[in-house]
Amino acid sequence: MDSELVPPGLTYLADNIVSSQNILGVTREQSARWAQGLNLPGESETVLFAGCGYQYSGQLEALMSTIRGIDKSVIGAELPLRFARFQKKLGLNLPEIYSRVLARNADTEAQPLKAAVEVLRKIGVEPGYLAEEEPCCGAPLYQAGLHRKFAENARQAYQKMKSAGVKQVIGIVPYCTHAILKLFPDYIEGYDLEVKHFLEIVTENLLEHELQFPREVRVTYHDPCQLVRYLSMVEEPRQILQAIKGIELVEPDWTTREYATCCGGGGGFEAVFPELSQVLAVNRTRELLETGAEIIVTHCPGCIMQLKDGLRELKVDNVEVLDLTQVIAMAIET
């Protein structure tokens, strides 16, 4: 029995992970749609770990926007997130919201993943992808303090990957990568998966390529917390961006690198404090806009969602948010 002290937003994510192996509680089939037509092998020693954040980015955006609306109302987000029955009463039919998103955005979602595959192939890495069989890393369980559940999930995830013949994992979502690289070994005896982040694999190789962005742009880079402060990837994204011709990298005064400000979407915080999380997203977006950049580049699905929301709230429509993988893919093509 878990304690009543865990806020409802986090128990919602946790229940979904335990029941459906993803944070939204939807079917796994939805997650794998992005890879249709890419012909990624389902069995491979090296797999790309796609993660919830990128795979469900459309659904997550829709969910967050709904929850934020409720959180700003007199009801508050606690009850709807705790009781399924309350969701119906409020007209909060989540499965329906998700399927509407799917019908609408099937093509535009998960672009960062498609771009990642494209980049990996360009440098001669052909990753596998477990698709419906990809386990959830369970990071929100860890964040919530539900370590018994996290441990159980980690062991199952490990077994699932092992029985699929996986030896190397290419992580891309910072949270997932950190979990399977740094946390799993503490919970699994004899843990032997070789885990690397996407940037570790591509950076060196990419710098040998001719990289050219389709147009001249001012770009700023937002460091995701988990990537910069937990996985120490400070230089890689900057080396890549600086190597791309046509891109001028401009950074905020103080709040960059290890001192980058969190986008407000960290570790389930957005589910516990939906409205405050949006305020933090706006604050961070403002800091990044002060650089005068036309493109905000980052490398985390959570940050992308938050910064896009920040732009929307600030009613800025001449600046876009792109994942680093998308920028690289655009620069390799030309």
Partner: protein, 401 residues
């Protein structure tokens, strides 16, 4: 369902702060000047960064020995003709102090977070004493009937215009809202001036204490601590036991790193107090009670600290120098100030709430407000891993059911 409604109240408080424009204005001004100042201070004295590593080692060794160091300090302080006490709990500390002070006294008080922790001012007022906070920030919030919102800048949430407005009401001197800050400061100076010399008792905290010589270091800029601990006939100091280090040489390092990371190149004053005032000028006979206090009392507060020191992860909270740097880097604090916290603030405040005040529900609310983004750790001179502590705390909260 009681618990979730408490969380709801807390969230309401947090969101209220988030929508407070005056608060946001005051915070953004403070964060901006803090960052400029600390950059300047560390560039001017770059050795501080290595010294901070030494300080971490000093704290790592001293924290498991707190009790022993406190006893050694008390012995030394008593050799110096002062008096030392160990208080196991906040109530014990209050009782010791109340017994020393009694009632109907005029008290001038320097800023002490440990005092805040045990509710010292309110308690002394309840006992029928007249208490004046003399730190400008504390004075402002005392007069506002508010509570500190930052550990080194308690009135960080109040913009200058609001201070001018407040002083006009409480000091009885008209101060225009357009006044510059110097005029506002001068008004507080005039008001408090005579209190220092009328006071029966002066109260202070301390930033670091040496066991070997029984010396209290008190870092300040305003001069209010010098007056509070120098002018009245009695000086009472309340100190958390985690502030103890073995030697003067250790304490010098702790003090320098503390003020540097609190954004000062050098503070105006560092007082070192080891006993009551004395003179030997007449026939070389040592006589106690010259110009400074005749009595000197030091209360070392345990209040859960010795228990906390045994925890393999959470013990890091005791390394905290209370420089306050982390608060300026917390994205949540930047919109809520000390509403994200209790007696102590932000992520590290959750640990203090859980262990020191033992208020598990409050601690849970604070713990789940932390982003675990880790920027505080980056700023911390002794690299306290707040996210690691938060996860550990959540684990014990979540799996306690």
């Amino acid at each position: 369902m009681k618990k979730s409604s408490n969380f709801k109240d807390y969230k309401k408080e947090i969101m209220g702060a988030t929508h407070d424009d005056r608060l946001r204005l005051a915070l953004s001004r403070s964060i901006k000047s803090f960052r400029a100042n600390i950059k300047d201070a560390l560039e001017k004295f770059p050795h501080t960064i290595d010294m901070a590593e030494e300080v971490l080692e000093i704290k790592k060794k001293a924290i498991p020995r707190m009790e022993e160091l406190a006893r050694q300090a008390i012995e030394t302080i008593e050799e110096n003709r002062g008096k030392g006490y160990i208080a196991r709990t906040a109530d014990e500390a209050l009782k010791i102090i109340a017994d020393l002070i009694g009632t109907g006294k005029l008290i001038v008080k320097g800023k002490t977070m440990t005092g805040e922790e045990i509710g010292l001012r309110e308690y002394l007022e309840e006992q029928g004493n007249e208490v004046y906070e003399t730190d400008l920030g504390e004075f402002i919030i005392q007069k506002m009937g508010s509570r500190p919102m930052h550990i080194t800048s308690p009135s960080i949430h109040v913009p200058r215009e609001d201070v001018a407005h407040l002083f006009s009401k409480v000091i009885g001197q008209e101060i225009s809202v357009d006044s510059d800050i110097a005029e506002i400061v001068a008004a507080a100076r005039d008001f408090l001036r005579e209190k220092f010399f009328q006071a029966d008792i002066g109260i202070s905290g301390s930033n670091v204490v040496t066991a070997e010589t029984g010396t209290l270091y008190i870092i300040e800029n305003e001069g209010n601590v010098r007056l509070s601990t120098g002018a009245p006939p009695v000086h009472i100091a309340l100190v958390g036991m985690e502030k103890l280090v073995p030697t003067i040489s250790d304490a010098n390092k702790v003090a320098e790193v503390t003020w540097r990371y609190a954004n000062y190149t050098i503070p105006s004053y560092v007082s070192m107090v080891s006993g009551p005032s004395k003179t030997g000028d007449i026939e070389k006979v040592t006589t106690y009670g010259a110009h400074g206090p005749k009595e000197f009392h030091v209360i070392f507060l345990d209040g859960g600290r010795t228990e906390l020191a045994k925890h393999p992860v959470l013990r890091q909270a005791l390394y905290c120098l209370r420089c306050g740097g982390c608060l300026y880097e917390c994205p949540v604090f930047a919109v809520t100030a000390g509403h994200f916290g209790d007696k102590y603030f932000t992520g590290i405040g959750a640990v203090w709430s859980a262990i020191i005040s033992g208020d598990i529900e409050k601690a849970a609310s604070i713990a789940y407000t932390c982003l675990t983004c880790g920027r505080c750790k980056q700023r911390c001179p002794v690299k306290i891993d707040v996210p690691e502590m938060i996860i550990e705390l959540r684990k014990s909260l979540a799996e306690s059911g």
